[in-house]
């Protein structure tokens, strides 16, 4: 990775921290500690399940919201503030700018997830009093969540490269929702005929498949995740994020910035 990409990425990370993005950790800590203490009193026998389900769901949703709301402004904000021209007047290529922004945002989310993961494990220790071997599976769920973030970041950047922040947010969030229904869409394609089948199949493969990346519920029940699924999901997330990022670079490369 070129030094310029690293520089843009670290600046993006610093900017996100300056924007008080990591403040969401306070809300997360309050949510998780509240749930860990309260659930035992208002429910029966699901303290551990709630800590895992709520903890990982919160890690995922907080991260997705951050990815969308920061991702959509990464390009447009630079244009609006005219700082982009300063950056591009230096020996920085447009594609390096996009890739740097992507890694900066992804880095922010990884750091955020790291601190949240500490919170999840602390809450788990509070309710279970000890760690068990199946708790290690939580790392797999966290890894899949980070893969989700990579896809969302790349999509937010793609939309941000040609659209307004508001529309980019709508597009990215819509794709996240549709992506959660990707398997249903494929099922629908299987039932349809003719042109509808082709269109539905194309849509099903075009939207990101987030359902395969969500293993929270099975991890909560200590069900192991196949190594092959980890490998395939990793490759899928990288390939999909790569495609979205390439699209963003293509659009940004030909965009008239005057």
């Amino acid at each position: 990775m070129s030094a310029r990409i690293v520089f843009i990425a670290s600046n993006t990370f610093r900017e996100a921290v300056r924007d008080r993005v990591l403040y969401n950790l306070i809300a997360f800590a309050l949510l998780l500690s509240g749930a860990a203490i309260l659930v035992g009193q208002i429910s029966i026998d699901i303290e551990r399940l709630v800590v895992i389900n709520l903890g990982l769901t919160a890690v995922s949703l907080f991260g997705i919201v951050i990815a969308i709301f920061i991702g959509i402004g990464l390009v447009s904000k630079e244009i609006e503030r005219r700082t982009l021209y300063t950056v591009l007047s230096r020996p920085v290529r447009r594609w390096e700018f996009i890739v740097g922004k992507f890694f900066g945002l992804a880095g922010t989310l990884v750091v955020n997830t790291f601190f949240m993961a500490i919170g999840v494990f602390a809450a788990l220790l509070y309710v279970s009093h000890k760690f068990a071997r199946p708790d290690a599976l939580i790392f797999v769920a966290l890894y899949f969540i980070i893969l989700q973030f990579l896809i969302i970041c790349s999509l937010a950047l793609l939309f941000s490269s040609f659209s307004s922040p508001l529309l980019s947010a709508v597009f990215t969030f819509s794709l996240f929702v549709i992506g959660s229904f990707a398997e249903d869409l494929r099922g629908f394609a299987g039932m349809a005929h003719g042109l509808t089948r082709w269109l539905a199949s194309a849509a099903a493969y075009l939207v990101p498949n987030f359902s395969a990346l969500n293993v929270i519920s099975s991890i909560a029940h200590e069900q192991p995740v196949a190594v092959q699924l980890i490998l395939h999901n990793s490759l899928y997330a990288m390939v999909y994020a790569g495609a979205a990022l390439s699209g963003a670079i293509l659009i940004f490369e030909y965009r008239d910035l005057k």
Binding site: I44, D45, I52, N53, I216
Partner: protein, 308 residues
């Protein structure tokens, strides 16, 4: 600077006063419209729609619905309610959202099956819930055990109970007790012995404090039921021999039919009423007894004596 401080003080005071007033007003509004409580409302009753709407976070949604089911049951149980209309749909939603949430099947069946006020009086729904649980978790022997339990205790269907225990006994790592229960059901063994065996197994095989306490309470009630049943037999026998009913239990002792005045598990002596019936002295202490209750007795809320 001074004016800013003054503004800040006034704004803070306004904030606190307005918040407090809004809480007070909301409480008054709640009193005016008591039906506005949420416990009878199930806005979305379709488990499939809810599963889709959860966007893949169905585990957390299942936990929320399970907590709702527990709160709903607990609240209505506390009010001695005889209707639990939303309980079965809540459990159905919970288990569709997370088919591996075993606790929802195990506790859910014990909420649904018993007659009111101890449960919803819907044993058939409990059977459906357990069958759904078995379909999704075929290797969990406890689910077969709970199914047999419902068939035996609530539906008195011994053949189906035997079949459930038999199916469960074939599951890998099943408790050996299931085979014994299947045989006992097939032989139609004495009701007290079978019920005691079931509750003892429940007590011994669970780690959950509440289930253990509930099993102990049922074992206490079973002992009382059995005592009353045998004492009543002795009273009838005395009446047949002497021609008149005994005036108190000392008459049975004098006849050598009893070695002493029998007492319940708490040490209270059983009473013989003027019309020749055996009654327990403190029925509130035994919420699950079916024998020896005073006429027109209204049960008190269950209290658990032993914290295992």
């Amino acid at each position: 600077m001074k004016s800013i401080s003054k503004t800040a003080i006034i704004a803070s005071a306004c904030l606190v006063v307005c918040l407090a007033a809004s809480i007070i007003l909301l409480r008054r509004v709640d009193r005016i419209r008591p039906q506005a409580t949420l416990d009878e409302v199930l806005y979305i009753s379709s488990p499939k729609v809810l599963k889709r709407a959860s966007l893949g976070y169905d585990g957390l949604m299942a936990d929320i619905y399970w907590t709702r089911a527990v709160q709903y049951f607990g609240h209505r149980h506390f009010l001695y309610s005889r209707s639990y209309n939303e309980l079965a749909p809540l459990l159905e939603i919970t288990t569709h959202l997370d088919p591996h949430l075993l606790v929802a099947y195990q506790f859910g069946a014990s909420f649904l099956a018993p007659k009111p006020p101890n449960g919803a009086g819907q044993p058939q729904r409990a059977v459906e819930l357990m069958e759904y649980g078995i379909q999704n978790n075929p290797d969990e022997w406890r689910l077969y055990y709970n199914l047999g339990f419902v068939y035996y205790m609530e539906l008195k269907d011994y053949a189906k109970a035997a079949e459930a225990f038999e199916r469960g006994s074939k599951v890998p790592n099943a408790h050996p007790f299931l085979k014994v229960m299947a045989a006992q059901m097939a032989q139609h063994a004495g009701e007290f012995e079978t019920a005691r065996a079931l509750w003892t197994a429940t007590y011994q095989t669970t780690q959950d404090r509440q289930i253990r306490a509930n099993a102990l309470e049922h074992l206490r009630a079973l002992r009382v039921d059995e005592d009353v049943f045998h004492l009543q037999e002795l009273v009838n026998e005395y009446q047949q021999k002497i021609g008149i009913a005994p005036s108190n239990l000392n008459d049975l002792v004098a006849m050598g039919m009893l070695s002493g005045i029998p007492v319940d598990p708490d040490g209270h002596a059983y009473k013989l009423t003027a019309d020749g019936r055996i009654e327990v002295s403190e029925p509130d202490e035994f919420p699950f007894i079916t024998e020896g209750l005073p006429p027109g007795y209204k049960p008190a809320p269950p209290k658990f004596h032993v914290q295992p």
